[in-house]
């Protein structure tokens, strides 16, 4: 018996000629996907390329207009999520489907409880979950409520849930987005185990360096079509980006150094709980300072203190030599500080309201007279940003929630550009955004720096941190643990070392 799957054996999963249209949009055209047993396939593409639609067809959330799905060479019809489950497909979405108050065990068996005479056989379930966790190689008490687990642990619970349902094809949608660097390493080990057990894993991520680490083959989609599927060894980072955007990219990080001016923002001795401890730094006019570190190091918390979103226990914030009294974001905005939050959907936008209203929200002071909104002025101002930021939007009244991640981020940007802030804090400005939009945001940061703004960029993407900043601050456990004044000569390892404390 040979362990390697024979090349002529039927693929574990074969989707062919999948078509799917929504009113006004052809989301998928003739897309095919193949995955063999024991293989990791990375699915790449910009937002709106059709990755999510394809996955939702596989998971039974959408019904394709045409096309076939075969598992082990046998044709299957998937019209509902339960069909997918029965066919051995499990999808782990970015937002986990876990009930926070139920324990890991209860979540894993939710809907498929092991019962006898109507009673749950807790002890059996408990044993099976322990075995599953052992198989994955993690130590989690099956009885812990999911709300008490870390994001990484919750992800493991999702994976265990898939295994408990005898899934053989596991789809992971941006699994690393909310994980720390060590947790991502652990995830890769788990994926390696799954491969050895003969599973097929479809891995969706915007982080190309992860693709090189984990994938066997890479499939690229663009505009609802299949572009290419190649073994990962045949491709460079540059190749992947160019296939995704469909054109040559000269330089992924178009950093231009602006002339540095006087000190604009000075933060001195900031404290709040154990997340922000004695943080001090300054940003000069025209300077882009990157603030990086592991998830949970206190970067976002620091930004929220500077923006007045949370109360500081002690410390001072000085802008252009004037000490600020920050009791609310309103105060910070009045002083000329803007914050683009990391969580656009929950903190940056009112999704159920129009893009124009979202744009207007922080700017109504200047777009109104005697308390009345000056509709035409608001429209004209927003129309200007739609043009200059190349926001793809059918009309100004389109709901913010219907826009793609990149366009949502541009609407948030427009909000703050209209404010004409002196200091702009970008918290993970390119998270979940496709390559094209990323590039445009980088160019915009150059422009802002050239215009003399002070920019604080919080980011976990080390290539971005190295590529786009003038200076790097690294945080660990609430403190600033290091500073790199020459990003061009620095390495990711150097940052990681500082980030680990």
């Amino acid at each position: 018996m040979t362990t390697a799957p024979a090349l002529d054996a039927p693929a574990l999963l074969e989707m062919s000629d999948i078509d799917k249209s929504f009113p006004g949009v052809r989301a998928l055209r003739q897309v095919g996907l193949q995955i063999r047993s024991g293989e990791v396939l990375a699915l790449l593409g910009e937002n709106g390329a059709g990755k999510t639609t394809l996955i939702k067809v596989l998971g039974g959330a959408y019904r394709p207009d045409a096309g076939t799905i075969r598992i082990d060479g046998r044709s299957v019809v998937i019209t509902r999520p339960t069909d997918a489950q029965r066919a051995g497909v499990a999808i782990i979405y970015q937002e986990f489907n876990l009930v926070p108050h139920l324990s890991a065990r209860e979540n894993i068996f939710l809907g498929r409880e092991d019962t006898r005479g109507g009673f749950v056989r807790r002890r059996d379930e408990h044993r099976r979950v322990r075995d599953l966790f052992a198989r994955i190689g993690v130590a989690i008490d099956p009885e812990t409520p999911c709300a008490h687990l870390t994001v990484a642990q919750q992800q493991v619970v999702e994976i265990a849930k898939a295994l408990a349902a005898d899934a053989r094809i596991i789809v992971m949608d941006e699994p690393s987005a909310a994980l720390t660097i060590q947790e991502v390493e652990r995830l890769f080990e788990i994926i390696g185990d799954l491969k050895r057990q003969g599973m097929g894993v479809i891995y969706i991520s915007h982080r190309l360096e992860e693709v090189f680490r984990v994938a066997d083959r890479v499939m690229v989609m663009r505009d609802g079509s299949h572009v290419a599927t190649r073994p990962v060894g045949e491709l460079t980072r540059q190749d992947m980006i160019e296939m995704m955007v469909g054109r040559k990219i000269e330089n992924e990080f178009p950093k231009q150094r602006a002339e540095l001016g006087a000190e604009r923002l000075r933060v001195q001795g900031l404290n709040r709980g154990d997340r922000v401890r004695d943080v001090s730094f300054s940003v000069r006019s025209g300077e882009v300072v990157a603030l990086t570190g592991l998830v949970g190091a206190g970067r976002t918390e620091t930004a929220r203190l500077i923006f007045g979103a949370d109360r500081m226990e002690s410390g001072t914030v000085t802008l252009d030599g004037r000490r600020l009294r920050l009791r609310s974001p309103r105060d910070a905005m009045a002083s000329g500080i803007g914050l683009l939050t990391e969580d656009r959907r929950n903190q940056g936008l009112v999704l159920a309201h129009s893009a124009r209203e979202n744009f207007g929200l922080p700017n109504l002071g200047g777009l109104s007279a005697l308390g009345f909104v000056r509709g035409r002025r608001e429209r004209d101002a927003f129309a200007g940003f739609i043009r200059s930021l190349k926001i793809k939007i059918p009309h100004q009244d389109e709901l913010a929630g219907n826009l793609s991640g990149g366009n949502q981020q541009k609407v948030v940007l427009a909000k703050w550009l209209q404010q004409d802030c002196k200091v702009i804090i970008f918290d993970e400005p390119t998270r979940g955004i496709d390559v094209g939009a990323k590039y445009e945001i980088y160019l915009l940061m150059n422009d802002l720096a050239a215009a003399g703004k002070a920019i604080l960029m919080i980011s976990s993407e080390l290539p971005e941190v190295l590529g786009m900043s003038d200076r790097i601050l690294v945080m660990h456990d609430g403190r600033i643990t290091g500073e790199i004044t020459d990003p061009a000569g620095a390495t990711q390892e150097q940052i990681l070392e500082l980030a680990m404390g």
Binding site: Q347, P362, F372
Partner: protein, 449 residues
């Protein structure tokens, strides 16, 4: 180049999404018009106007006319107005007969012999039916050429009679006015259960103040206005207090206003000593029953003004935007510099103020104040808001939608009264309507995503 039509479609869809309930209101009105369609027999002033016009069209000025009506206030009103209208048209009204056929016979016997015998008789519908009227030529040969005029009947639905439409407006005014404030509160993602009790408190406080400080039955109009304003302001403060509980102490609105509902109701009972307060001038009914501007009820004017103001506030002003934003995503609103606490405080204060206005209207309509007013009104108010398409999740809803919601509820109630549906069944139907409205809303949302 995008075609203009491409932009027009979402506009239409949005209008239907926001105001689709208009269609339901129109359908309801059409249904009840059809169901209550019947022959209308005008009486009183309406009949007098109609018949005197008919006489004026057919007979020249100077014609001698006798007005005949049976006993009764309405018949007398007819006779007086008809006589006056005929004189205005240059007719010579030779006499007015009020009474039964015997009185008429005596009068006719006297006139048949005299020179000022009438050339025409104008009679109420009932009097024209008297046997005597049909046999005039036989009984009085000299009156053979006398023509008898009486009001004609015409088909028209009971539902659409002016008096009925005014009754609907009258019934709904308190709920509709408070529903403005409730819409704002619900749009911010809150709820205010205290409005029913605030109606009672406002009615009690306003009448109590009139009784104690403004001279009871002899109170002047100015005194009454001051007392009512004080009551309204008091309710506004109670609302603001709820707002403080919700913002400063993060008490869930449901609980905070539930407590306020009990407090306000208890206060109303304490202040009124558990009794009705009726020692107020009869003229206090100017707001609730009076009319101005050519017969438009003051309640309708009040409602129109408040709705127009609230609509402008919610659609055109910065504050309106802030209210929607707070309900749509409170964190995003705060991080966009919206003064979230002040906005929430404002909507609860407005809701309290308008509940106070509702209480004053109620007191005015009933010419008294009692702690039992407004019982369960909070539920009707919330129902009007929900039927009007405002989402309880916050962030979405329209003020005019609420007005339509209030009218849908009033029309259904009124229509069921007209068609003789008993009150227990009415409750069941109303409950079903609320469920239907919410389901419709959910279906609409599901289709749009």
């Amino acid at each position: 180049m995008p075609l203009p039509i491409a932009n027009a479609r979402p506009v239409i869809r949005r209008f239907l999404a926001d105001y689709g309930m208009v269609l339901i209101l129109v359908l309801l009105a059409a249904y009840y018009s059809w169901a209550t369609w019947k022959e209308q027999y005008p009486g009183g002033a309406e009949a007098a106007a109609q018949v005197s016009e008919a006489v004026g069209d057919e007979l020249g000025p100077g014609t001698r006319v006798l007005v005949v009506a049976q006993e009764g206030a309405r018949a007398r009103e007819f006779a007086d107005i008809a006589a006056a209208a005929l004189r205005d048209r240059g007719m010579n009204v030779v006499g007015v007969v009020l009474g039964d056929p015997h009185v008429l016979r005596t009068e006719l016997e006297r006139r048949a012999a005299s020179p000022d015998k009438p050339a025409a008789v104008v009679a109420t519908r009932e009097a024209a039916e008297w046997r005597l009227m049909h046999v005039l030529p036989e009984r009085f040969p000299s009156l053979a050429n006398v023509r008898v005029f009486s009001p004609r009947s015409y088909p028209w639905p009971d539902f659409l009679k002016r008096s009925n439409l005014l009754a609907i407006a009258d019934r709904i005014v308190v709920i509709a006015v408070i529903a403005i404030g409730m819409t704002m509160v619900i749009i911010t993602g809150g709820i205010d259960l205290s409005v029913g009790s605030l109606i009672a408190l406002s009615a009690v406080v306003s009448t109590l103040l009139v009784r104690e400080f403004a001279g009871a039955k002899d109170a002047t109009a100015f005194g009454m206005v001051v007392c009512c304003l004080a009551a309204v302001l008091g309710c506004g403060l109670m609302g603001a207090f709820s707002g403080v509980m919700v913002t400063a102490f993060s008490i869930p609105p449901f609980i905070g206003t539930l407590a306020m509902m009990l407090i306000a109701s208890g206060l109303a009972f304490i202040l009124a000593g558990g009794q009705s307060i009726y020692q107020v001038p009869a003229s206090i009914d100017w707001l609730g029953r009076g009319t101005s501007l050519g017969g438009i009820p003051n309640t309708v004017t009040l409602m129109a003004v408040l709705y127009a103001g609230a609509h402008v506030l919610m659609t055109r002003t910065v504050l309106g935007r802030y209210i929607y934003a707070v309900g749509g995503n409170v964190e995003a609103a705060r991080l966009s510099g919206v003064p979230v606490r002040r906005v929430i405080l404002f909507v609860y204060a407005v809701c309290g103020l308008l509940a106070g206005v509702g209480g004053v209207v109620q007191a005015s309509q009933l010419q008294s104040g009692a702690p039992t007013y407004g019982l369960m009104y909070e539920l009707y108010v919330i129902a009007a808001v929900v039927v009007g398409g405002t989402s309880l999740a916050g962030g979405q809803g329209r003020i005019l939608g609420t007005l339509i919601g209030a009218f849908i509820i009033a029309v259904i109630q009124n229509g069921m009264n007209l068609t003789g549906v008993e009150s227990y069944t009415q409750k069941v139907v109303l409950g079903a309507v609320i469920l239907g409205a919410v389901l419709l809303d959910m279906l609409k949302k599901r289709r749009s995503t």
